[in-house]
């Protein structure tokens, strides 16, 4: 085995603890999934219900933002403090989000004016 692989054996107690933790995390993720479906449904419903666009636009954007953060942190393990280099990764993702936001702002204002 190459020297850069770190494998630690687990005791039975550790193993069972890990299994329980895993199952709990899965349950959390299923609940988050249900929330995502709910958020999607609300977004579609507000549009179908025909309220004024000026109210709905920010609301559905906000709902999308919440759902995305939920996806990132729950499904994609950005909340996992033990994932390798997760601090650095989070920084990169948030910087990317800020830059993406700049594009959105710019193209909304200085393309047609």
């Amino acid at each position: 085995m190459s020297h850069d692989t770190e494998i630690q054996g687990r005791s039975q107690a550790q193993y069972e603890y890990d299994r329980r933790k895993s199952a709990q995390q899965l349950r959390k993720q299923v609940i988050n999934f249900a929330i995502m479906i709910f958020l999607t449904f609300i977004a579609f419903a507000t549009v179908v219900a025909d309220f004024a666009p000026t109210f709905i636009k920010p609301i559905i954007l906000l709902l999308a933002g919440i759902q995305v953060v939920l996806q990132l942190y729950s499904f994609m393990h950005m909340d996992d403090k033990h994932a390798p280099y997760i601090g650095v990764i989070s920084t990169f993702v948030w910087v990317g989000a800020v830059i993406a936001f700049t594009f959105f702002l710019a193209f909304n204002t200085i393309v047609w004016w």
Partner: protein, 207 residues
């Protein structure tokens, strides 16, 4: 690494993180996703500035064109496929190879369903006369949503290759990170879709 025999108990809790290559792949897919975020941001920005813009007298508008029920069903397919991907990773942790293969297969099927609906939608628009070259709006729409569709196709091919490639090999520390990064990529595709259905379809229908 390939030949070590594991049991569920000796299998590490985070199989994708224990090798140097696994760590590299894990960080690597996230960094790649950051570049993809900016790629889609550019496409979104272009789409937003060209929405409903076309030649004088163009009769296609986003309010009339987009159908919400179809978008909703497509969203459900993709969101659920994200959940099945989560289940596949749960099986990966438990060293249940059959489970990994099964749930990844379910992800692929749901993704295929999404893709078929999208192809049908595109065909419908082209049939109506709203083709790629019809206007700036149509070019922007098909480029943005089409690029997402291309990412879906790539993800489906990737996961299929994984299932086929590993069928005779089982799970080991060499291919566990491969499943994991494919799953992260698939979740990202879903994240992009959340923005697409919000910005393109919902805001399109709003006007």
């Amino acid at each position: 690494m390939i030949n070590t025999k594991f049991t569920p108990q000796t299998w590490p809790e985070h199989p994708e993180q224990v090798t140097q290559e696994g760590k590299n792949k894990y960080v690597g897919i996230w960094i790649f996703i950051c570049s993809d975020i900016v790629l889609f941001a550019s496409l979104f920005a272009t789409y937003i500035s060209l929405r409903n813009k076309g030649p004088a007298g163009m009769e296609f508008t986003s309010q009339e064109l987009f159908e919400l029920p179809l978008a909703f069903v497509m969203t459900m397919f993709l969101l659920t496929s994200s959940l099945t991907s989560v289940y596949a990773m749960y099986q990966l942790k438990k060293y249940n190879f059959k489970g990994v293969q099964l749930w990844t297969g379910a992800t692929i099927l749901l993704g295929l369903g999404f893709l078929c609906l999208e192809i049908y939608e595109f065909y419908h628009y082209v049939h109506l006369g709203f083709g790629y070259t019809q206007s700036a709006f149509s070019s922007a729409f098909f480029t943005l949503v089409g690029t997402h569709g291309l990412h879906v196709i790539i993800g489906l091919v990737w996961m299929t290759c994984l299932i086929v490639r590993n069928a005779s090999r089982g799970l080991n520390l060499y291919n566990a990170p491969k499943y994991f990064v494919a799953s992260i990529y698939w979740h990202f595709i879903d994240v992009v879709w959340v923005f697409i259905f919000t910005v393109v379809y919902l805001m399109g229908v709003l006007g």
